[in-house]
Structure formats: C-alpha cells, structure tokens
C-alpha cells in the first residue's frame, strides 16, 4: 500500500500528549458553550469551498453545479449553441458568495472545458494536475512566510467531481488514466452523468462494473476507506461507498408536478424530477457534498493531500523549516538519480505541521 496515502486522522493529531484521564464532574461547568462560540465564529467568518468539475463536454457539468447550489453559477448552454470547442484544455474558475440562514459560503467552481474532447487525449489530465498542485503551492508559500496572514486564503481544490459518460458498459481507458492519477492528489467523487438515459437495472449493472474496475486498479475515490476514523464513520461511509458512483441528473428549470414546483427535465413521456430518489441519486450527491461531508472534504484536503504535497516539496528542496526563518523553497539542483523522490521515510509519515487546526478557527 502506498505509504504516501496513509496518515493518521485529524482528531488524533495530538501526537505527543500523554494519555488523558477522564475525571468525574461535580457539577455543570458550561464547557458545551464552546460549541456555540465555534458556531458564532464560523458564521462570522463564513466558509470557503472549492470544487472542480471534470468531464467531456455535454455531460451536464454546468447544469449540475447550478442544481447543487440552486443558483445560476454558470450559464448552462444548450447543445448546438455556438460554443467554440476549445482546442486545448483550459481551466476556468468562477467564485460566488452564497448565503443561507446567515451562513455565508464562498464557493469557487473550476470548470475544465475541452477535457477528453480531442482525437488524441493523451496527457489531457496534466493541466488539471498542474492547477491542483499550483493551488497547493500557493498555500504553501503563504504558510511559510514570516509574517503570515491571519487567515490564509484557501484556493485548494477540496473536491473534484468526475463525470462518467453513461455508456452502460464500464470505465473507459481515459477515465481510468485520469482517476488513477488524480485520486492521489485530490478528493475525487465520480458520478454517472446524464443518468436519465439508463434504466434502474442498467444503472445498477453499470455501477457494479465501475466499482469492480476501481477495485481492480486500486483507485480510491472519496470517501476513502483508509481515512475512516472510527466505527461510526466506517458505517456511514460504507453506505455511501456502496452507492458510489451516484447516478445523477441535473436540471435548472422548474416544472409543475402534482401541484408542486420541482426542478426537472420535461420529456414527452414524463418529467424527470431531480430531487426524487426514485428518479435519480442527485439528493445523495448533494447531501454528501454539502450537507454531511463538506467539512470532511476540506479536512482531508488539508491534512492529507496538502501534507503529502508539502512533504514532497520539502524533500525536493532538501531543506526543512528551522525555526521562524523563511525557507527558500526553490527547487534544488537535480539530485542524484537514485530515488530521492521515493516515498518519505517512516519517521516523516507521522510528522504534522504545528498548526494544522487553525483552519477551523
């Protein structure tokens, strides 16, 4: 198992503390008010969330983002509109601040038009990997400054949604190549796009085949099995893992169905309701990304993926931060060819940056 992937969970990061003894409480102290304080602080600060959507053109990426956040983040284009197909892969980010019940969310969505659309798609994942690493680099540079900002702006990609075309057969070579590379650098959530062209049985068969393919090629998509902290997590995440990849349909038009106004796609033979679990699994995706695992996505990005990147960079530059001095992380001259890029030694694996939990405050 790749040693880079293994890392202890955030909650047990207090590596050097002695075993804490629980003591008997003699009365009400008021510790639980801390939760309220946290909440107030969080509401004031707001949250940041960065997602990236990857997939061939026409798979409904922009529509899905609009549906997820119930806002017109992107102008979704109809097929056939004069959208010039980009010749090379370009990344395109857009930031919005969405507010709900006093909670502000600064959402950044990065789109990847041109992915997988050319005749020769070799290495079309390189610009995407480059972008992700660039964001890690930016954060790293901010982190090692002498006078740091109070709150480092977080542009790192917390989640990458990968749209698998609904062929009904299995993962294509392009899908495999992409997933293999990206699951090591970022949290990837694969979804079966435009699932309204598959019947329920076809979806199940397709899903099982994809799960088999992922297992055969040792691709760990989010939620990763190796990062489950405790039994509860395991149970919850196992349920999710059984259903990954979700078969989703996106829509940003509303229609009247039985007196209710729903988001859906109106066909001649019926209306596909996006939020109806009998029609598609969009609610599962939304719950995963926003309602239950948003913070977890950010935590894993910060504690695992970013740390892995940081370790590699520090090894490359042969310099470790010593005290408060600013370390020059310019890449070192090409090292001796014998595997200095190999996985870091066992001692480094459990090392944590001093302030890994300042994110939450």
């Amino acid at each position: 198992m790749d040693p880079l992937r293994h890392s202890p969970s955030p909650s047990s990061s207090r590596a050097s503390s002695p075993r804490t003894l629980s003591c008997e409480r003699l009365g009400y102290v008021g510790i639980e008010a801390v939760l309220d304080q946290l909440k107030i602080k969080a509401m004031k600060m707001g949250f940041e969330f960065n997602i990236m959507v990857v997939g061939q053109s026409g798979l409904g990426k922009s529509t899905m983002v609009n549906t997820l956040f119930k806002s017109k983040i992107w102008k979704s284009t109809m097929p056939g509109l004069r959208v010039p197909m980009p010749q090379t892969l370009q990344l395109h980010s857009v930031t919005h601040v969405i507010e709900e019940n006093g909670v502000k969310l600064k959402l950044t969505v990065t789109d990847t038009p041109g992915f997988g659309d050319q005749i020769n798609n070799d290495k079309c994942w390189d610009p995407i990997l480059g972008y992700i690493n660039e964001q890690y680099e930016r954060y790293l540079q901010e982190e090692i400054l002498i006078t740091r900002q109070r709150h480092i702006p977080d542009t790192r990609v917390h989640c990458c949604i990968y749209f698998v075309p609904p062929t009904g057969h299995c993962l294509r070579p392009l899908d495999l190549e992409f997933l293999q590379r990206l699951c090591r650098a970022v949290n990837v959530v694969p979804v079966i796009a435009r699932a309204d062209s598959l019947t329920i049985e076809e979806r199940e068969a397709f899903r099982h085949r994809i799960q088999d393919d992922l297992k055969t090629h040792s691709i760990e998509v989010y939620p990763q099995k190796s990062f489950d902290e405790d039994v509860n997590d395991k149970i919850l995440n196992s349920k999710i893992r059984e259903r990954i990849p979700f078969a989703v349909v996106g829509a940003d038009r509303e229609h009247m169905v039985n007196g209710r106004c729903v988001l859906g796609r109106k066909m001649k033979w019926g209306i596909i309701e996006v939020e109806n679990m009998a029609h598609c699994e969009f609610p599962l995706l939304r719950d995963l990304l926003i309602r239950s695992h948003l913070q977890d996505l950010k935590d894993i990005t910060h504690n695992v993926h970013y740390e892995n990147y940081r370790i590699i960079r520090l090894k490359e530059s042969h310099a470790l931060p010593q005290g408060p001095g600013w370390v020059n992380l310019a890449p070192a001259p090409p090292p001796a060819p014998t595997g200095t890029r190999a996985s870091p030694g066992p001692a480094k694996m459990c090392r944590w940056a001093e302030d890994n939990s300042d994110e939450d405050f």
Partner: protein, 367 residues
C-alpha cells in the same frame, strides 16, 4: 380489331418474381463510440438477436484494445422475401485515450470489399458474384456532445466518398425535444461546413400524392435520425404492450413517432430505400473507386475516357486487367517505368557528350 395491347405491363411482375427468387443481400456497417446503443438498435431494427452472445470487455481489457472489424450475418424472411443481412461492427472505435487514425482499419475494410468485387467482376465466373460491399454505414453520434466531435468529423471525412453515410443520434431518450432539435440543427450545419457528403435521399416524383410528399419531406427534415432502440416489451397498463424502455418517470415507446425517429429510420432503411442504397453504392461509390484504381494502374500519360474515344479499339485492349493483386502489378509497372527513365537519361547524356565533342572538334578545325 385487336386492342393495342402488347403485354409488357407485366414486366414489373416478372422482375418482382425474379428478385424474390434471388433474394437480397445487404451489408450494413455500424460505427461510433461504444455505449451509444448500436447493438440494441440493430436488434430492434431487424427484430433479431444478433448480439446475444456478445461479451462486453472489462475496463482493463479495453486499455489495450485496438479496433477490430466484426461481421455478423443473419437471414431474415418476411412475406416470402429473403434478405441476407450482414452487419459489420467496429468495436474499439473511439475508445482509447489516443484515437488518432483509428478510422484507418475501417477505410481499409471498405476498400478491400471494393477490391474484391473489382476482381470478381473482371474474373471469368461472374454468375455468382458475392456482393460483400458495404452498402450503408450508420454512424452514431453521441447525444451528449455539442454536435459532431473532432473524431466524428475525422471519421466521416475519411469514409464519405466510399460508403453511404446515414448519421444517427443514439440514445436519443436522453434529450428533451428542444435539445434534440438544436442538436440536429447543429449537426446539419457542421456537416455542411465540413463538406461531408451523407446519403442523399432521392427526390420524390412530382406525381406522388401530397401525403407521400409531406411524409418524405418530414423524413428528410429529421436527419440525423434521433433513435432509441429496445427489444423489450413493456406492459405498463396501457392499451397494448409496446416495445420500449421503462423508466420510473415514464416509458419511452420505440415505435412512437413523437418519442423518437426509429420508425422513420426503419422505413427509410428497410422499406423504401434499401434498393437505392445498393444502387448508389454500385453506380456511384464503386464506380468512383474503380476509376481511381484503374487510373492509377495505367501508365503515366494514361488514356482516360476522353482520349480513349480518339484511339477507339486499340486502347481498350491495353488497359491491363488486374489479374495479379493490385499492389504487385503497380510495383511491376513502376519498376519498368524507372528502367525506361534511366535508359532515357543515359541516352540524353550520351547525346549531349556527342554534341560536345562535335562542337569541340569543329572549334579545333576552325582554329
């Protein structure tokens, strides 16, 4: 006085009987990325289970898969008429990460069939020529794209002069009506822009009735056909069981013209234009191939139709029959040409030398 009745009005019947006896054979090619419903559509069109024994390769097998050409044959009989249908499939097309030149095996296959026919036609026993030429290619376009993809354009440009192309939008039940219209429009524009010649339906005669003309016009308007295929019968409590796909939000009926263009495609392909497709393949595409082939075989300064008329009988016998495989004949001819050219060069050199020495001789005489 006898009525002026000769009796050749019965000719069409004779033709009919002869063709029924002979039977038809038809070769249909299906091409397009995997997962667009090609096999299901073929099964639905001809109500067969040609693809029953198909194994869908798993992802790791696909990583190293190259394009293969598969042929499946079936004999269909209906109303006393036998049709020997051959379906040519192209699994692996458009599946790899790098699809450059992945259409070349297909082009090669089509030309191989032409070459075979050319050889048979020029051979001695012409009574039982097996016509394995591809009469029609159904090209499947993804409903999820924004029109033709670069790979689609590249494939169509490579084969449009060699086979009748009918573009089809597969899995069309993924699209809302407006999306279908927009996609069809975009594809038509792209085809015009890229100058791709798809199969042109012949104009209907002016003496057809209005209904037929209207139907014909509707059919032409709906190209590329947006199709849905299914061999399953759905009994959803409606008036009668229908062939379709059952979803939790409704049932798509394959044979409902409001739901998809399956009926139009079937009518066009099987009921009305089967013979025309074969004729166009023979008269236009095959003849084009034959002309190109023979022209390249003949020597430089070759005689084509224009000069042939001047030289009449002489030239006709000089065009070599492809007795040998074409590549060899070409090679032989080229070698002979090279020899000729070399000899000509040597001759010229010698002549030049002679002239030079002559001139020198004169000069020395003059001095």
């Amino acid at each position: 006085m006898d009525k002026e009745y000769v009796g050749f009005a019965a000719l069409p019947n004779q033709l009919h009987r002869k063709s029924v006896k002979k039977g038809f054979d038809f070769t249909l090619m299906v091409a397009g990325e995997s997962g667009l419903g090609k096999s299901t559509l073929i099964n639905s069109l001809f109500l067969t289970n040609l693809y029953e024994d198909r194994q869908i390769p798993e992802a790791s097998a696909r990583l190293t898969q190259t394009l293969t050409i598969e042929r499946r044959g079936v004999e269909i009989e209906e109303g006393g008429i036998k049709v020997k249908l051959t379906v040519v499939d192209t699994p692996g097309f458009g599946d790899s990460v790098d699809c450059s030149d992945c259409w070349l095996p297909v082009v090669h296959f089509i030309e191989e069939q032409f070459e075979q026919y050319l050889r048979d036609e020029s051979g001695l026993n012409r009574k039982n020529i097996q016509d394995s030429r591809v009469h029609c290619c159904l090209y499947f376009i993804s409903p999820f794209g924004r029109g033709l993809r670069p790979l689609d354009v590249a494939f169509l440009r490579a084969v449009h002069e060699k086979v009748n192309i009918i573009p089809v939008i597969g899995k069309a039940d993924a699209l809302m009506p407006k999306e279908t219209q927009a996609l069809k429009q975009k594809i038509r524009e792209q085809l015009k822009e890229e100058e791709i010649n798809i199969y042109q339906f012949p104009e209907c005669d002016s003496d057809e009735d209005e209904d037929f003309k209207r139907q014909d016009a509707e059919m032409k308007e709906s190209i590329p056909f947006a199709v849905v295929g299914s061999c399953e019968v759905v009994r959803d409590g409606g008036p009668r069981p229908v062939r379709g796909r059952h979803y939790s939000w409704g049932t798509v009926e394959v044979e409902n013209p409001h739901h998809c263009d399956f009926l139009n495609l079937r009518r066009m392909l099987v009921q009305t234009h089967l013979q025309d497709l074969k004729e166009v393949t023979h008269d236009l595409l095959y003849e084009g191939y034959r002309a190109r082939c023979l022209q390249s075989l003949a020597r430089p300064g070759a005689r084509d139709r224009a000069s042939r008329s001047k030289l009449s009988r002489q030239s006709a016998t000089e065009i070599p029959l492809p007795m040998l495989p074409l590549a060899d004949t070409e090679k032989l001819i080229r070698e002979k040409d090279e020899e000729l050219r070399r000899m000509q060069e040597m001759l010229e050199k010698m002549q030049a030398q002679m002239q030079l020495s002559q001139a020198q001789g004169e000069q020395s005489d003059a001095l």
